[in-house]
């Protein structure tokens, strides 16, 4: 059998190809075909085998994910099973776990509770507290209660959105910082208040905004 030196033989292929991901494998097939006008049979068989192994693994991961979701949802539901009107409390538990209500979880919940998905979404979208989008890694929340409003929370929001380049309710492109407003956090004595990653800062001035953003970015870098 005449094997071109640049085409990996089956012996070497087994060692090398295992490191290739799906796209690289297909790429390799295409390149080989371009170069030689055909694909050696042992190469194509090896690639097929590797791909099926990878696919099987993906299926297993998917299945595991599904069963994790199912197990989590079952856990939440069983905790509240006996209670009437438990939907909102279960949604609170889910949001506490994920930071938002993922669609797959909502679908699983619908199956588990025997409640139509539409009814679950009806509740989620009615209440401000429930989120459908994953939150950013860090959150800056500006209190927009009346006391804070009078003392300039609007200016803080403007300053934040111009510095971060996002509007309220949005997350930066790197999914790092989420900017939001909240109705009132009940700290009216220290208005205007801003909550940075769960820590409340009072009497915030627009000049201090850059410092808060920098502290988050610094945190991010030190983690990285």
């Amino acid at each position: 059998m005449n094997i071109h030196p640049s085409v990996p033989g089956p012996e070497t292929a087994a060692a090398d190809l295992r490191q290739y991901d799906e796209a690289a494998l297909i790429d390799l097939l295409e390149k080989t075909e371009q170069k030689h006008g055909f694909i050696p049979r042992d190469l194509s068989e090896e690639v097929t085998r590797l791909l099926s192994v990878k696919l099987e693994r993906l299926r297993r991961i998917q299945g595991k994910l599904d069963s994790t979701i199912r197990r989590d949802v079952q856990q939440h539901v069983s905790h509240w099973r006996e209670e009437e009107g438990n939907l909102i409390m279960i949604l609170h538990a889910i949001q506490n776990q994920h930071g938002y209500v993922p669609r797959e979880v909502a679908m699983e919940l619908s199956r588990e509770l025997g409640v139509p998905l539409a009814r679950i979404y009806e509740v989620i979208t009615f209440y401000h507290y429930f989120k459908l989008q994953p939150p950013g890694a860090h959150a800056i929340t500006v209190c927009n209660g009346t006391a804070c409003y009078l003392k300039g929370s609007r200016d803080l929001i403007n300053e934040l959105s111009s510095q971060l380049g996002i509007a309220e309710g949005q997350t930066t492109a790197d999914r790092m910082i989420h900017l939001d407003t909240v109705r009132c956090i009940g700290c009216c004595g220290m208005a205007p208040a801003v909550v940075v990653d769960g820590k409340t800062c009072g009497h915030v001035k627009t000049t201090e905004i850059a410092g808060h953003i920098a502290s988050i970015k610094h945190l991010k870098e030190s983690v990285a």
Binding site: M89, H128, T146, A147, L150, K151, C184, C188, M190
Partner: protein
Amino acid sequence: MNTLSRTDLEALAAKPEGDPPEWIRVQLDTGGIAAGAETIFTALEHERADRRLTIPLLRTGSVGYSFADPVVEVQAAGMPRVHYGCVTPEIAARILGEHIGEHRLIDDHIIATRRRGLTLDAPVTHILVKDTSPEAGNKTGFFQFSLAEELKRRGLAERVQVVRALDLGIYDEGAVVQLLPSGVTYTNVLAPDVARIVAESVEAGKVLDDLLWKTPDKQVRIVLRNCGNIDPDSIDDYLRRAQGYQGLHRVLFKLSPEAVIAEMKASALRGRGGAGFPTWLKWQLTRAQPAAQHYVICNGDEGDPGAFMDRSVLESDPHAVLEGMMIAAYAMGASMGYFYIRAEYPRAVERIQRALDQAREAGLLGANILGSGFSFDAKIRLGAGAFVCGEETALIASIEGRRGSPSPRPPYPSVRGLWGMPTAINNVETLACIPAILLKGGAWFAGYGTEKSKGTKVFAVTGKVRNAQLVEVPIGTTLREIIYEVCGGVLDGKELKAVQTGGPSGGVIPRQHLDAPVSYESLQQLGSIMGSGGMLVMDKDDSMVEVTKFFLRFCVDESCGKCAPCRIGGYQLLQVLDRISRGRGTAGDVPLIQRICLTMQKASLCGLGQTAPNPVLSTLRYFGEEYQAFIEGGPSYARKMNKATPTAATSTKVSATP
């Protein structure tokens, strides 16, 4: 904690425990923690260990001095009991070193807002001094110096210390001097008086009548009675030091449900959530409805932005709210209760949950409580950020796990409420009053307040006010007294423009009506409502059109969309207001606003839509000329106005009050 029995409670009542002689209390409520009270607590712990002291370090809720968070209260042997405000870790170290160690008070941090003495019943050990003149070219230092010099001259410097105070609860009365521990307070003190004060009061123990401040403290604390005094996480503290569950004891063993309702009738307590419906009547209607199950709900969905009374009470005195709920349940024959609390108040939820667990463990919740045959249990349900859920029927829908859409009344919840059963919904503040009423009697409670509105009301005074704080005053106290005498007037000495009460469903009260007594009726006459107790002070820099837009936008965002007048009317109203505030309004806009408002008030399904026009109508009524100015001035005027409002956040000047 072991299960309590009836006799245990009786023994506790016979022997209430006093305060231990020495302690430091750190006020750890949401506001305090946000200001760094946790850090202060650890700093105190470390410092105490370093100095090998044994003084107990206690956690407590908030007494309400939000302007001075974090607040620490100190009681040391042979020293007056004082609150320190704006505490930093450095001050915390000095509290242990100087206050506890050397028996010296610390300058510039003492709050002695509510201490008023008329007789010198004990020798003076400390003198607090503060210059309260508005222009304050600040003479506080001068008076401190001259008092100290005078004391030195008379050889008293060893015995008496002169301290600059942070706040004495007296404003615009010149130099104020307070003698501790008696609390005798002199106002408008001038330089020549210093010698007299030292010679006659400190040395001879005589009160100088011409300088004496005789106005008693305006506040009466019933709802806030335990806030800042007990550990909210300890049922033991509540039982031993706050006559905890004694009201329940009296109800269970001495009174029939009818007698409880009669006592409530005598107290004339009205719902503190805003509408002011008589509590006893609500209970009686619920009780009279035959059903297999009755429910009682505590409405802790404090949605009004700018109000934090309910949060404070839930966080600082959770057992009192629970006890109130149990008494309500007994009177109505309910065996199940729900706390509906905003999810935005995690600490309140945590403390109520702990209170429930502790009460259950102590046998105060569950079957056959204290052997009385009365069974009751309670659970928490979280709100999820919907203002409309403060409305009774929407709140019930939310507890049932549905969208919080209100439904038409009647039937009222007292007839068909939670899961179709008769339900009474009471506000946090209402429930917190109840144990005190049952303990001291309805007539005692009715002794406060006005002809038609009895008792006291808690207000959260915020906005452009010098000392933003929680205030509890008898109903009928005037706005001027609350804002100027208790809270120190407008921030930076500016001119007050209006006071907004009742949150987004309330209205504004202009300066000329400041002397109106605050009661359900009088505020309604002025076009506002008492509401849950938020009180926002606005100064002359605040544009009424902008503020109205803010409130209206809130209501439009919160409208559930079920009924057209609220959904469409609110949006249209906002469009018109927006047009006006950009200087594009026309002469026909004001009548149009009035027409839309009327439609919303008459045709909306629930309180949200019916009251959403309130801020618009009341600002139109009192500040119509501002709307006119925007309409006549056109876009250039609007641009000028929108630019010209500096706010605290943008001003570079550091405000005078910390």
